[in-house]
């Protein structure tokens, strides 16, 4: 079976169902040790921050959760666009399966950011560009899920929600660059593709381990949810 045929083979919900189960199991089993290692490095090994003291340790969940909130939205928009372009049933299901987990990580990023903001900035919330655009991302996830749930015909719901997902993707670069484009209370990017990390190596390691754990968790959960959607739509 050549590669092109295999892609189309797995584009069918019926053939993807067992593969999704295998992917979910593998990712779940990998996510647990990675999360434990990330927690150990973050809470035990990483040194106390010279300026913020212990409270900076929120970074080990706040930053990976914020990355996942944006990344999951882009993946969701990708599947939504694929569904619109090729009218494949599985694409709509993938987008629908990712939305609740994306919304959860967005909420976690906002919640942990708020708890980090109080001791460091003196306030739980401020209407600055980074925080506001992240809140809009949460509303976009809610909008996607609400729009999908409000239309009885699932194929029509897939198409309508796909348009919202694609249009909403414009918010992701706004979140990412908000700290550069505007004067914000929020600090700049923690990690850059072009520069070496400015934090201690163990802090960086803890953050990366947690990011991979969240990433694998998201894949596992999305795969279980897509299996549920396949069964529900049968």
């Amino acid at each position: 079976m050549n590669t092109a045929v295999r892609w189309f083979w797995f584009a069918s919900p019926h053939t993807f169902f067992p593969l999704a189960g295998t992917i979910a199991r593998v990712c779940a089993w990998l996510a647990v040790p990675l999360a434990l290692a990330g927690l150990y490095v973050g809470l035990v090994v990483a040194p106390t921050d010279a300026q913020q003291g212990e409270v900076y340790r929120i970074i080990f969940i706040h930053v990976p959760a914020a990355w996942m909130s944006m990344f999951i939205y882009l993946v969701m928009a990708f599947w939504a666009a694929l569904g619109l372009a090729f009218n494949t049933r599985l694409s709509g299901m993938m987008a629908q399966a990712l939305a609740p987990t994306g919304a959860l990580f967005t909420f976690i990023a906002l919640w942990t950011g708020s708890l980090w903001g109080k001791p460091t900035w003196g306030t739980y919330w401020v209407w600055d560009a980074r925080l506001t655009s992240e809140l809009i991302l949460l509303f976009l996830y809610f909008g996607f899920m609400a729009l999908h749930a409000s239309i009885d015909d699932v194929r029509r719901a897939d198409r309508a929600a796909a348009v919202l997902a694609i249009v909403g993707a414009v918010n992701v670069p706004i979140i990412y660059y908000s700290v550069q484009w505007w004067n914000t209370l929020h600090q700049g990017a923690s990690v850059s593709f072009t520069k070496a990390p400015s934090m201690a190596a163990t802090m960086f390691l803890g953050m990366i381990l947690m990011a991979f754990a969240f990433w694998l968790y998201s894949i596992a959960v999305a795969m279980v949810r897509v299996r549920c959607l396949i069964l529900e739509r049968q």
């Binding site: 987990t101 708890l115 549920c228």
Partner: protein, 34 residues
């Protein structure tokens, strides 16, 4: 005890745990039905 750290970690893992719990319950119900 830093309650900001406890609040962050507890809420995060509680929410992720709840998501897994309800999702697995939904999956089990569907798989026994079909």
């Amino acid at each position: 005890m830093n309650w900001y750290i406890v609040g962050s970690y507890a809420a995060t893992f509680l929410l992720l745990g709840l998501e897994v719990f309800f999702l697995m319950r939904r999956a089990r119900k569907l798989e026994t039905k079909t």
